[in-house]
């Protein structure tokens, strides 16, 4: 466990120094520009637009940075052979991959918190009203990022090129958001297709359950559904990461 902690700490420091974090600057510019653009609209639409575009940017930029770090850890380091050095130390491969993953999602958490704070300050200055769903949305964005990071680590370990790892991860992100959209078609599908869609829902991260940012008015799910949704994300991450650890164990560099 200590090894996991040390690797995570090293990854977090490494990521914090990375230039990818400067993406946050782009975010700041985007949110402030949008604030000026929408200033002439009615108060309701202005606050709503700033919040939505801001939250969308938080999600998209943290997705991009997490993707970049995950591909770097699981693919680029193997290609560059820089992975040899940490693996010569007394640290198990599974501890290494879990530590790296933990470091990446902690970096993502920091990024989400920093960007979220900025957005909240801007909305506060615009006299927006906040409720628990607004703050919970950030946590759910973090859960989504944790899931896609785990999937990207797994994909990168199995990929033969950096580009394919990026493309497949993007496709998983899109598939995750479209899974809930096909549910209403199940009644019209053949039993074989229904089974296939269900299996897809188990394999791919089902973001319909976690996309609270699209329902910040709170009309999303009953209170009893939030804990299972959070546990779903946590269990899914562990399932994918243990699989990634198994792949990493067998991988030859």
């Amino acid at each position: 466990m200590k090894a996991v902690y040390n690797v995570a700490k090293y990854t977090l420091l490494e990521n914090a120094r990375s230039k990818s974090f400067s993406l946050s600057v782009v975010f700041i510019a985007l949110v402030f520009v949008s604030a000026f653009i929408f200033a002439k609209l009615s108060e309701v639409v202005e606050i709503r637009a700033i919040q939505d575009i801001g939250m969308g940017a938080v999600q998209f930029f943290s997705f991009l940075t997490a993707l970049f770090f995950a591909v770097k850890v699981a693919f680029v380091e193997g290609q560059n052979k820089t992975i040899y050095l940490p693996l010569t130390r007394p640290v198990k491969r599974s501890e290494y991959i879990f530590g790296r993953y933990l470091g990446i999602i902690l970096s993502a958490a920091l990024e989400i918190a920093a960007m979220g704070m900025l957005l909240t300050i801007l909305l506060y200055l615009k006299q927006a009203k906040f409720d628990s769903f607004y703050f919970l949305s950030y946590f759910f964005i973090f859960l989504k990022i944790s899931m896609i990071t785990a999937v990207t680590v797994l994909i990168s370990l199995a990929s033969t090129s950096q580009a394919s790892a990026f493309i497949f991860s993007f496709l998983v992100w899109i598939t995750g958001h479209s899974l809930g959209e096909v549910e209403f078609l199940l009644d019209e599908m053949s039993p074989a297709m229904v089974t296939m869609v269900r299996i897809f829902k188990w394999i791919f991260p089902n973001y319909t359950l976690l996309n609270l940012a699209d329902y910040t008015a709170g009309r999303f799910m009953a209170a009893a559904g939030y804990l299972p949704a959070v546990l779903y994300a946590v269990f899914y991450v562990f399932a994918v990461m243990w699989l990634a650890a198994a792949v990493f164990e067998k991988k030859e560099f």
Binding site: G56, A222, A224
Partner: protein
């Protein structure tokens, strides 16, 4: 061992996913449904697939406001006079696409009640197309009624539906009772306050007209601020001249 642990967590995630899915109380219009595809554009699909449905709805509604805030020469009825900048709220331009624009925004995000009430008010009380307003409101209300929400919400839309139905049957002056309830809400469009103030003004109920129009003195829209100020000055003059006569 690792694979076994992965399998155990995978089964747990499947169970939790099913459990969370049971508690869904509100779903937006599905992406591949007829309701969605008959109004949506490609850009909407992409934004939804990337998890930004609300942004897609915001963009469409802002486009709606841009459309409704400008003159369209090809949508001016024969004989009508219109000047640049005078299109909004005058009823001179027909704004044929107003209904389809708003339906698109509303179907993208079913929580976007402001888009429903604003456009319904514009269609019914400015463009005099009550039927389109009623279709827009019933499309939204019927959808919400079909959701598994424990407490009914979206009260404002029902209020607007009543007001517009009364307008259609008995004329706009009979709808003031419902419009009075609508203007209490902080997110009530300034347009509705302006219309209600105008109804009172025409009925020579200056006290109520002044009360309602005063709400628009701090409107973000300079057009409504100006209209409210001008009308209040006029009311003031009328009241003074009335007092002098008596």
């Amino acid at each position: 061992m690792k694979l076994a642990l992965s399998a155990v967590f995978f089964i747990a995630s499947v169970l939790m996913q099913a459990q969370a899915g049971k508690h869904f109380t509100f779903r937006n219009t599905p992406l591949f449904s007829k309701d969605f595809s008959e109004v949506a554009r490609y850009s909407d699909f992409w934004l939804v697939l990337f998890g930004h449905r609300r942004i897609a709805a915001d963009i469409v509604f802002i486009q709606t406001l841009q459309y409704y805030g400008s003159i369209h020469e090809d949508e001016i009825s024969a004989g009508a006079k219109a000047e640049r900048g005078g299109g909004f709220g005058t009823g001179l331009v027909r704004y044929d696409k107003l209904f389809s624009y708003s339906l698109r925004a509303v179907r993208l995000d079913r929580n976007f009640e402001y888009a429903v009430t604003f456009t319904a008010a514009a269609l019914a009380w400015v463009q005099k197309r009550e039927n389109e307003a009623i279709v827009l409101l019933t499309d939204a209300i019927d959808y919400w009624d079909g959701q598994k929400m424990p407490v009914p919400v979206f009260y404002q839309s029902s209020l607007y539906l009543s007001a517009i139905a009364v307008t259609k049957e008995k004329g706009i002056s009979e709808a003031t009772e419902y419009m009075e309830k609508a203007i209490i809400y902080p997110d009530c469009p300034d347009m509705v306050k302006n219309i209600l103030g105008e109804i009172y003004f025409r009925a020579e109920d200056y006290k109520n007209a002044a009360r309602v129009l005063e709400m628009n003195l701090d409107s973000r829209d300079p057009g409504y601020r100006l209209k409210a100020r001008e009308k209040l000055e006029k009311i003031h003059e009328l009241l003074i001249s009335g007092q002098q006569r008596s």
